[in-house]
Point group: C2
């Protein structure tokens, strides 16, 4: 680890984001990073705070079911700068709608599971 702390190693970035080093490299290859991650004196990657923040955000997108291909599209727009803000906003608004639906589905499923557990409780009590 260098004293001049100009970024995290891939192992540190992995620890900071919960994403495996294999997957971090995969994301970069897949075009999900705003730009290629900086390299230290060697070819080793050095993740900036911005990189870490970006990875954290895109894991949120992944977690909520946004496909890699769409994240790539979103990233491409972000690389193009301010001119694409409206389009990026629109993409996120659409995704937000999908996430809200997910939330509703999962909430309903949770209720169904609760209900089934209640039934078991009653069966256990009456036996």
């Amino acid at each position: 680890m260098t004293l001049i702390h100009d970024g995290l190693s891939i192992a540190e970035a992995s620890a900071a984001t919960g994403v495996s080093t294999h997957t971090l490299r995969y994301y970069e290859r897949a075009g999900l990073m705003l730009r290629p991650v900086d390299r230290a004196s060697s070819t080793h990657r050095r993740y900036s705070d911005g990189d870490i923040g970006w990875v954290r955000f895109l894991t949120r997108l992944r977690w909520t079911g946004m496909p890699i291909s769409v994240i790539r599209r979103y990233t491409e727009l972000a690389r193009e700068g301010d001119a694409t803000i409206a389009e990026r906003r629109e993409l996120l608004v659409q995704h937000r709608e999908a996430v809200r639906e997910q939330l509703a589905e999962i909430t309903a499923s949770l209720a169904a599971i609760d209900h089934k557990i209640d039934i078991y409780d009653k069966e256990i009590a009456s036996s």
Copy 2:
């Protein structure tokens, strides 16, 4: 469609549950049904109300990320009858915990997405 309505055809079951006919057969093969679905005079499947309810419940389990293998285990327990009620309850209670965590993650992700959209709104407003 028979006049003696002793169950739904696979196409009707598909419509009733939102699960494709291919997947309904797959679920049966995979051991996710309590028992093999009844067959009509022919070899054609006839889904009872109970079958439909079961499929609906297990799509809830699938939707919330329970793997096929665990659903199979759960189904096997259910087939064994009342003696396994406590174990089935426990399995669902564990899954419920996982679902609650999902819900928390998704809610947090939704907040992050909202926040990003807010930022875009401000950038748009100030331009």
